[in-house]
């Protein structure tokens, strides 16, 4: 079966699956970002916690996304919110960890200079710390986005659509066309989003922060 045939037969279905998939990704990463960003900023106000925070985050990151989906599925049932909450939780960790380390690692000299210039704590945060942690924050968002595309495939496991539907059904019925029909768009989706984020990062990073420091 050629690509054209495939699209004729599954085109509508595929578009819907991509749309659902993207929805999962954007909502989860968005929600995860907001929570993670606020948490990271708050945590960074108490740097002595860092010895505890980073390892704990590392441990949580070893929990497979499948488990979050599974647990929430058992409690909340087969609803889209189950997938979104699970993916959001999973999206939190890389962003939280990167934002936190990014802020913590901003050169002490810069902070002292900023304070010496008479910036308030809040001004130091948004004028100095966050801009200088930006590349770290971006790589956290990128990681989360790519993971989320990957874990969103699992939504199909509990019957909630997305590109995983093609893959799962393909595997179950031994239908190679369906597997490829789900896998290739999922791969392209992940790469495109990753590439897109790279582009945005390049656009918004001031020249002074680019390249080796």
């Amino acid at each position: 079966m050629g690509v054209v045939d495939f699209l004729n037969r599954y085109g509508d279905h595929l578009m819907r699956a991509i749309f659902v998939h993207l929805q999962y990704v954007f909502i989860s990463v968005g929600a995860g970002f907001i929570i993670a960003f606020i948490a990271a900023v708050l945590l960074s106000r108490v740097p002595r916690f860092s010895k505890v925070v980073i390892p704990v985050l590392g441990i949580f990151q070893t929990v497979p996304g499948l488990v979050f989906i599974g647990v929430l599925f058992i409690y909340l049932g087969m609803k889209p919110i189950t997938v979104i909450i699970a993916l959001s939780i999973y999206a939190i960790f890389p962003i939280l960890k990167n934002t936190y380390t990014g802020i913590i690692n901003v050169d002490d000299g810069l902070i002292e200079a900023a304070r010496g210039c008479g910036m308030s704590n809040f001004q130091i945060l948004y004028k100095i710390e966050i801009p200088n942690a930006m590349s770290s924050i971006f790589s956290g968002v990128r990681m989360s986005t790519i993971y989320t595309v990957s874990w969103a495939v699992l939504a199909a496991m509990i019957g909630l659509g997305g590109l995983g539907e093609f893959i799962y059904r393909g595997i179950e019925t031994n239908n190679n066309v369906l597997i490829i029909g789900g896998a290739v768009p999922a791969a392209i989706l992940a790469m495109t989003l990753g590439y897109g984020l790279d582009l945005i990062e390049k656009k918004v990073t001031p020249r002074g922060l680019k390249g080796g420091r």
Binding site: L110, E112, C117, M119, I128, P131, P206, G208, L209, R213
Partner: protein, 378 residues
């Protein structure tokens, strides 16, 4: 005027600054010096309250710094640190304007200020304003660091080992520039260093700290001649051969510099300028045919005049003082200190102009005699 009054600072049980009392006058360049851990940086940072004191107070013009909001206080005091700390996410211009923008200056005023400041250190606006810090050398970066501290027009600048991370040549240049800037702008500067050479070169007065205590406050010359404590003596003489006050027998002859440009009264402005350019000097001494001292002339003087047709006689400044070749160096000192003159012209017994003594020359020569050859000597 900055006044420390019984200032103490403790970390846990260790007292790092013990009952500090010191007054720094307006326009004065005071250098805190001492070995690491002596409390000099802490003393500096208590002025702008980057470090809070435990006891006592610091007054700036009779105002207790503890009664001013910390951020507001710091916006009114320039601050330069060793790590330079230019913000890599901001351009040079934005870095310079950090404080003016915090002070909510108008855009036109900000713009004018950046132009003015870059010009002050001879860095053309077009070339530099839109660069980022990492596109500049360390020395250039610290020039901008100093400009950033000056930008908000603070009367006081605090400098915490500002040139410590630079290579020796760059450091030397920046020291010279800072000295010139201070003369021009009359800022009150408090400067921390562990380098005695730097302290001697820069300071109007040196405040020597050791183990949290202020051991001596004196002009570089006084401290060199009469260190109040053996610790100071040993700290000043790290790379020293002989000690003892041979300096007391020094004559002007021994301390003067003969690297001067003599011109006759009838030289035309144009000629003088080209002579100055050749010798890379921006001033000259005017004499008659007998080499008798008549006056001094600076490049500025000539330029101020506008037209270049005048002769030395009309352009020169006759206020400069002279001193005899055979006079005691000590006398030269005292006169330089008292009269606040920039230099003395040295004349021989038969009235010929032979050299010049400036404050920095005499300090360096003295140190040279006291301790042998130091690497910073001219």
């Amino acid at each position: 005027m900055i006044t420390y009054k019984n200032v103490c600072k403790k970390y846990d049980d260790v007292t790092v600054v013990k009952n500090l009392n010191l007054t720094v006058h307006d326009g004065e360049f005071v250098v805190f010096v001492g070995p690491s851990g002596c409390g000099k940086t802490t003393s500096l940072k208590m002025i702008n309250r980057l470090i809070e004191m435990d006891e006592g107070t610091i007054y700036i013009d009779d105002q207790d710094v503890n009664k001013i909001d910390g951020d507001q206080l710091r916006r009114g005091i320039g601050y330069v640190i060793q790590q330079i700390g230019l913000f890599p996410n901001l351009t040079i211009k934005e870095n310079i304007l950090v404080v003016p923008r915090l002070l909510k200056w108008s855009e036109e005023k900000c713009e004018a200020r950046v132009h003015e400041l870059l010009e002050l250190v001879g860095m053309p606006y077009e070339e530099n304003a839109h660069k980022y810090p990492k596109e500049m050398s360390g020395g250039q970066q610290q020039r901008i660091g100093v400009l950033r501290a000056l930008a908000g027009e603070p009367p006081i600048i605090l400098m915490d080992e500002p040139f410590g991370a630079l290579d020796p040549v760059t450091r030397e240049n920046l020291q010279d520039e800072l000295k010139i800037l201070q003369k021009k702008l009359h800022k009150t500067i408090i400067f921390v260093t562990h380098d005695m050479d730097e302290a001697i070169k820069m300071a109007d007065r040196i405040a020597f700290m050791y183990d949290g205590k202020l051991l001596q406050v004196a002009s570089p010359e006084d401290m060199l001649r009469n260190p109040a404590d053996p610790i100071i003596k040993s700290f000043m003489s790290k790379h020293v051969s002989t000690l003892e006050n041979q300096s007391l027998d020094l004559k002007c002859k021994d301390v003067m510099s003969t690297d001067i440009l003599l011109i006759t009264e009838q030289k035309k402005a144009m000629e003088i300028m080209s002579l100055m350019k050749q010798k890379e000097m921006n001033w000259a001494i005017v004499v008659d045919e007998e080499k008798t001292f008549k006056g001094t002339i600076s490049l500025q003087n000539i330029k101020k005049q506008g037209e270049l047709t005048g002769v030395a006689q009309d352009l020169m400044d006759t206020k400069a003082e002279t001193i005899l070749l055979t006079a005691d160096a000590k006398e030269a000192f005292n006169r330089l200190m008292k009269s606040r003159a920039k230099f003395l012209v040295v004349v021989s017994e038969n009235g010929k102009t032979v050299g010049i003594i400036t404050k920095s020359i005499i300090t360096e020569k003295l140190a040279n005699v006291v301790w042998g050859d130091l690497d910073w000597v001219l």
